[in-house]
Amino acid sequence: MKSFKYVVKDELGIHARPAGQIVKEAKNFESAITVACGAKKTVLSKGVMGVMMLGVKQGAEVEVSAEGADEDAAIEAMQAFFESNL
């Protein structure tokens, strides 16, 4: 399993649009990708609702993990996405 931690800089946090983008990005990979924030956690394959319900705000730390055959590529892509969009 690969993972990284990231503190969200975007002032609007993870609202509907970024939730959709994150789930779309995750679909490019076979690995199971999860996003956790505080006590809440969601698997991206379950869709956007779970991501929106994390309620991630500016300044919150999230932990993104990937597990599966392409976990290296998946975590690299997710990290790039978070750094350039959030």
């Binding site: 609202h15 509907a16 649009r17 959709g20 869709g47 609702m49 929106m52």
Partner: protein, 159 residues
């Protein structure tokens, strides 16, 4: 050819607001036009009142009150997003009447918004209605190009 299903074969989702129904592809925001959050449609509201589209519960009222998700008893996860880019209003002009976790009945008033003030602030008030768990349904049929009252069917779902 396939139009002869009994009405009961479909789960019906009511319009959360009164207005004109519009296809997703016509929404001026790629997040919705490309159905990135799921399949659905939109209503161009004529009144600033949002009603529960189904029996179920409030899965999430966004902190900024501009969007609300419903967990329907039928299993649909429905996002009602009032206006485009309205997350930027940070709650201004939205007055919720429910909280996350509340049970609702179809037709309950859940939120009011000041349509004129939101327009004055430069935002489009078009309200996408999205089935977030699109993959759980074999068919999602939107109603578009009509005038609806809150509660009239705007999406028909088949498991």
């Amino acid at each position: 050819m396939f139009g002869f299903f009994k009405k009961n074969d479909f789960i019906e989702i009511g319009a959360p607001v009164s207005g004109e129904t519009v296809a997703s592809s016509e929404i001026a925001d790629p997040t919705f036009a490309e159905e990135m959050l799921g399949k659905g449609m939109a209503v161009r509201p004529v009144e600033g009142k949002v009603y529960a589209p189904v029996d179920g519960s409030i899965a999430l009222l966004f902190d900024t009150n501009h969007a609300i998700t419903f967990e329907a008893e039928c299993g649909a996860e429905i996002l009602v997003h009032i206006g485009l880019d309205t997350v930027s209003l940070k709650g201004q002009h939205y007055t919720p009447h429910v909280s996350t976790g509340d049970k609702v009945k179809k037709g309950d008033l859940v939120l009011e918004f000041d349509m004129e003030k939101i327009k004055e602030a430069g935002f489009d008030t078009i309200t996408p209605v999205i089935i977030c768990n699109t993959d759980d349904f074999s068919e999602i049929v939107p109603v578009t190009g009509t005038s609806v009252k809150a509660g009239d069917t705007v999406l028909k779902l088949k498991k």
